[in-house]
């Protein structure tokens, strides 16, 4: 049984120590070798850059975060819907699944400009890019979850003359939830990436921009401390969203499936 204290010493303390160690070594190295700031800024410089423009970073992070959350949510809805269709018909599954794989492999950097041309710059295109990039894990995990039902449970339902709808709602769907949660975790991180990539090409209003735009801008201007700060902000955003989805997932698993959080 994990106590709060043991949780701290085992899970929080070691990574924190490693983090501190890396930061200190980094600071020393940049000072000792006099590395110019446009090449590798020191942690202090990055912190300073973030603090100096914290409003800008905050609003950019919120904007990108909003796009990512919307993209992820949409992915979840669309992905589970497509998985439903796949689970109900072998014909649909075998004819359409290869195109779902296309979502996984298409180089988004090549597609994003096209999307911008077709749908214009702005929120809808960024959303679309985020959805495209994060859709596949949902489709594939949800489909697997819906069709990989224990055959004896299928027999049980057949025994009681369950209708197709009852099978879907009372058997396949609950069975698929642990799988969907796994897919959702992957998908949430991808949605953040998708939002940022979308912003690279879509731009925004003159006074409202996200982390992707910030990354491009600071990179163009050789403002490497700010670039690092923007990249770190993006990473943190991804971690927060991933962590939230993970947490919600383990709560669901614990409450409804009585699986301990170590199981997933």
């Amino acid at each position: 049984m994990k106590t709060k204290a043991s949780f701290f010493w085992q899970r929080v303390f070691p990574p924190a120590i490693l983090f501190g160690f890396v930061v200190i070594v980094w600071q020393i190295v940049t000072l000792a070798y006099d590395i110019p700031r446009y090449l590798l800024p020191s942690p202090l410089l990055i912190l300073q850059a973030a603090v100096d423009q914290h409003e800008q970073f905050l609003s950019a992070t919120l904007l990108t975060g909003f796009e990512a959350v919307c993209g992820f949510g949409l992915s979840l809805l669309i992905g589970v819907g497509i998985a439903f269709a796949f689970s109900q018909s072998k014909i649909i599954r075998s004819s359409c699944y290869p195109y779902a794989i296309f979502l996984q492999t298409v180089p988004i950097i090549a597609i994003a400009p096209l999307i911008i041309t077709w749908f214009g710059t702005g929120f809808q295109s960024v959303l679309l890019v985020a959805v495209i990039i994060s859709l596949f894990p949902i489709i594939t995990n949800a489909t697997t979850g819906l069709i990989s039902v224990d055959p004896e449970l299928e027999n049980l339902f057949r025994l009681y003359n369950a209708s197709r709808w009852q099978r879907l709602w009372k058997l396949q769907l609950p069975n698929s939830v642990p799988y969907i949660i796994v897919g959702a975790k992957t998908s949430s991180g991808l949605a953040v990436i998708g939002s940022i990539v979308g912003e690279f090409f879509a731009g925004y209003q003159a006074d409202q921009f996200g982390l992707g735009y910030l990354i491009l801008q600071t990179s163009n201007q050789l403002k490497t401390p700010q670039l690092f700060a923007a990249v770190i902000a993006s990473t943190l955003l991804g971690v927060i969203i991933f962590g939230t989805v993970s947490f919600v997932g383990s709560v669901i698993l614990k409450r409804f499936y009585a699986l301990s959080s170590d199981a997933v």
Binding site: Y38, Q205, A206, V239
Partner: protein, 339 residues
């Protein structure tokens, strides 16, 4: 979750560290050249990195290669084509190339970030930077830019300067796409351009471009300037001298008789048709040779222009004040020698 952050930071740090190590080649190990003959023993190999694909704005440098001016000066110059986001400043500062082509605003930006680059010569006196709008829109002044889409390089200093100086009501800023296709499709579209390039192409395709010159707004950075490091200047001034002199010769010659070099450029960059190049040269000649700076003084730079640009960049919040001393960003020591 903490582990993920740490791991990605560590990876970032490791990657940058190796990149940083890789970039500090000493300037005295020039790139091996492939194209020369037995006389290579007498020529010094040099690389010149361009900031875009080969265009008329690089004409003078190519002329010096084509007409042999560099060779006459004892230099075997290899010109490296650039493109979007070409890392010219990093390459020059890091030492992998000896010379580069850039613009004055980027030099100041770089120096603010401890990039070691110095401008040694500027073929342009007036900046060709402009914004093209549709003639239909009736816009003739920058202040009238409203309610449209403006395509401009993210982080471009001109973009930031515009946003600081103008209200830009209802203007949606999008990344500069590198061509005029979107301009031709959308009536409510404006984009950054160089006056000798995009307007001609747009007109050729049936568009109705009207150029608003950045210099009219007072924003006038030296363009297509030759840059190198302060290290090269102090350790090998003779090399820089030869490079500057031959480049000036090239530019003077190109502005008079561009045809042979234009063919060469067209061969390197087929998208630049001969007609575009010819138009380009005509358009940029008055930007390079002006009343104040006649042909003999091509390449000149003044301290006032650099100081003014620096304060404009501070105003645009592209650099912090007191991070750059404009005087250190350029030198005229290699100009005015008779050549």
């Amino acid at each position: 979750m903490n582990c993920k952050l740490t791991a990605s930071l560590f990876a970032c740090f490791a990657a940058m560290f190796f990149v940083g190590c890789g970039n500090t080649e000493p300037a005295s190990s020039p790139k091996k050249n492939f194209t020369e003959t037995q006389t290579s023993a007498e020529l010094t190999s040099v690389s010149l990195a361009l900031n875009w694909f080969p265009e008329a704005e690089h004409g003078g440098f190519y002329e010096a290669v084509v007409k042999g001016y560099y060779r006459e000066a004892g230099l075997d110059v290899r010109i490296l084509s650039g493109g979007p986001n070409a890392p010219v400043l990093q390459k020059v500062s890091g030492g992998s190339v000896q010379f580069g082509v850039s613009t004055a605003d980027r030099v100041l930006l770089g120096r603010a970030q401890e990039v070691d680059v110095v401008a040694v010569m500027s073929p342009f006196q007036e900046s060709p930077r402009c914004i093209i709008v549709h003639k239909k829109s009736g816009i003739t002044k920058f202040e009238e830019l409203k309610n449209l889409t403006l395509a401009i390089s993210p982080g471009g200093t001109f973009s930031q300067y515009l946003q600081k100086k103008l209200p830009l009501e209802g203007v949606k800023i999008v990344p500069y796409p590198g061509n005029v296709s979107q301009f031709l499709l959308d009536e409510n579209y404006a984009q950054q351009a160089y006056v000798f390039s995009e307007p001609f192409v747009a007109e050729k395709e049936g568009g109705d471009p009207h150029s608003l010159m950045a210099s009219d707004l007072g924003y006038n950075p030296y363009t297509s300037i030759l840059i190198t490091t302060s290290k090269t200047i102090s350790e090998n001034p003779a090399l820089v001298q030869k490079m500057v002199a031959a480049s000036i010769r090239g530019w003077q010659s190109y502005l008079e008789n561009p045809d042979e070099t234009n063919k060469h450029i067209n061969g390197l960059n087929p998208e630049m048709g001969l007609d575009i190049l010819a138009y380009g040269v005509k358009a940029l000649k008055p930007l390079c040779i002006t009343e104040a700076v006649p042909k003999e003084q091509l390449g000149l730079m003044t301290a006032e222009r650099w100081i003014e640009l620096a304060s404009q960049l501070v105003e645009a919040e592209a650099i912090d004040s007191d991070t750059v001393d404009p005087a250190t960003a350029f030198t005229v020591q290699f100009l005015n020698s008779s050549e």
